[in-house]
Symmetry: C2
Subunit: 337 residues, 2 copies
């Protein structure tokens, strides 16, 4: 286990540097006796106590166990202290966040992309390799409708939104036409499993929404702008209206042969809760913007009997999947072994 900023420079007479180093040491989940800290930091025991005091004044709650076998330890406080991660931990977080970027939880997703952007901004390049390699090894849950979002695209966009920099990218619209866009990015929004960028399109001189999976080669130009006011309240609201106008959603209607609680625990929360029909079944009517393939798998994952009422496409795909599995489950013609 290597704590980069803890062990790299053992001889530093610089106070602020020592404080950072101390913070990094204390973040290891264990007890640190004052003597050991003094050794590691190359200062006297008294100074360590003073440093700990300073950390406390700064708001980091350092807990001390008195008596023999005592020591210091960083505990939960009222604000987040700076996280000191070693290489592997940083990679793990990056991979985790990138994997989650596809099918995120409502309310966390854009914060998660922001965190990812922050992390990747400072991620050493040798770790970048490992992240992309490992990410390639991850199998996303997506049912292969091809509309996967590159995490790089998301982070570039998030940086541009945060930094108020103009964003240029290539866009492939719904009917397949390609175009290049120069925009003032306003906000990233995710609905269910899909990401959208709400931005002011400078060429068209109007607000637009872009599906992130149709964006390629995003580039923050570096030019700053002062944000315009979005005509319709929030970005999420604007997106909702825009999607509604374009009919990019469909309604579905399914009955499950299981109690509401059972179903609710096995479906993404953003679909909303089903309404109970009776004690042993419930019915879900909702709107989805995702492909029917994905929805069908989601339904299969619920792991109970169900019936599809709407839409016909979903019905068709469920039937097809059922037949495929039935074929797969037939006693196999023995292959050559």
């Amino acid at each position: 286990m290597s704590y980069s900023y803890g062990t790299l420079r053992p001889m530093t007479t610089d106070t602020p540097a020592r404080l950072l180093q101390l913070l990094s040491l204390l973040q290891t989940p264990r007890e640190w006796p004052g003597g050991e800290l003094a050794d590691r930091l190359g200062v006297s025991r008294r100074t360590v106590r003073r440093d700990i005091d300073r950390l406390r004044e700064l708001g980091y709650p350092v807990q001390a166990t008195k008596g023999a076998d005592g020591g210091y330890r960083l505990v939960a406080g009222k604000a987040m202290p700076p996280l000191v991660l070693d290489d592997e931990e940083a990679v793990a977080i990056a991979v985790g966040l990138r994997a989650g970027a596809g099918h995120a939880v409502e309310g966390v997703d854009e914060a998660s992309v922001r965190a990812l952007a922050k992390l990747e901004q400072v991620l050493p390049s040798r770790l970048r390799h490992r992240v992309s390699t490992l990410q390639a090894a991850t199998t996303p849950l997506t049912s292969g409708d091809g509309a996967t979002v590159a995490p790089e695209t998301l982070t570039v966009m998030a940086s541009a939104v945060a930094g108020q920099e103009r964003l240029r990218f290539a866009y492939r619209s719904g009917d397949g036409t390609e175009s290049r866009r120069l925009t003032e990015p306003y906000r990233l929004v995710s609905t269910g499993r899909r990401w959208y960028l709400v931005a002011y399109d400078l060429d068209r001189a109007d607000w637009r929404t872009f599906r992130v999976d149709r964006v390629s080669d995003p580039l923050a130009t570096g030019a700053r702008f002062s944000p315009r006011e979005l005509p319709t309240g929030s970005a999420a609201e604007y997106l909702r209206q825009s999607m509604y106008r374009r009919q990019e959603t469909y309604e579905f209607d399914v009955t499950f042969a299981a109690p509401v609680e059972f179903v609710v625990a096995r479906l993404p929360a953003w679909l909303g809760p089903p309404e109970p029909v009776d004690e042993h079944s419930c019915r879900l009517r909702a709107t989805a913007g995702d492909s029917v393939e994905w929805l069908a798998l989601r339904l299969a994952l619920v792991d109970c009997e169900f019936t599809v009422h709407e839409p016909p496409e979903l019905l068709g795909y469920v039937r097809e999947l059922g037949e495929r599995l039935t074929r797969a489950g037939k006693a196999p013609d023995r292959l050559t072994d």
Copy 2:
């Protein structure tokens, strides 16, 4: 957007505090002109330059854009700088890591748990609420075989391993008998989707492996120990042997009607690659420790025709799932609407 340590204490004459604050400001993915930094930090422009110099000496690569519209910005260096996260980002990372704890990527998983433990050690309590609430809203991919691992259990264990503290917990063994264990935890290992603790059992005076999903009420006692030497090389190796002895795995054998590349991209990498049969099909023989239900879903997600050869249980479950989906896809008897 609130940067806790950036805005909480505007008047501080303390240099180390100011450096941390500066680090936090620079972590926003944007350009910061020196004047603005000077204002925010309440010091002169010259001092800001000096601080930036100090950060650079500490190893944080601060990039400066010269000329009009220039500014400072933190870029990737050779080591990870401490991450300064705001509340939402911290929550997002925690939720992401907890969600990923179930079905992690090989090679990242235990680092991911370590990172989670580090983060939760210092996560303010008000954020803890949000994390658990949001996590409840997440639907794990697990096919409901009940063997889900509580992230809290994992983090407590990871802390105990890192801090070399004795660990006490209740264990429900395979045949259902309950027992209390006092152990010296050695390493956490994950295989595929399941977590194991390799530890020295003090009562039995021997090494044991424990399935984490069968552990409850884990408690780090606080008592330290000096790690013993594991008789068999690495923890992963020990676990493999232990599982082999107990026959906790099964072999499966499936043929896909799709090229190797197609299948490989849609299956977890730790299953290993299938071997090509011909240009349009390939066959996968591997060992799984997971439930057949989970494996069946994984196969369905591959989204191509396939045939199950072994084992019979898998064959049965695939057939059952297929029939259920076929029933679900039948033209529904119209319910009362």
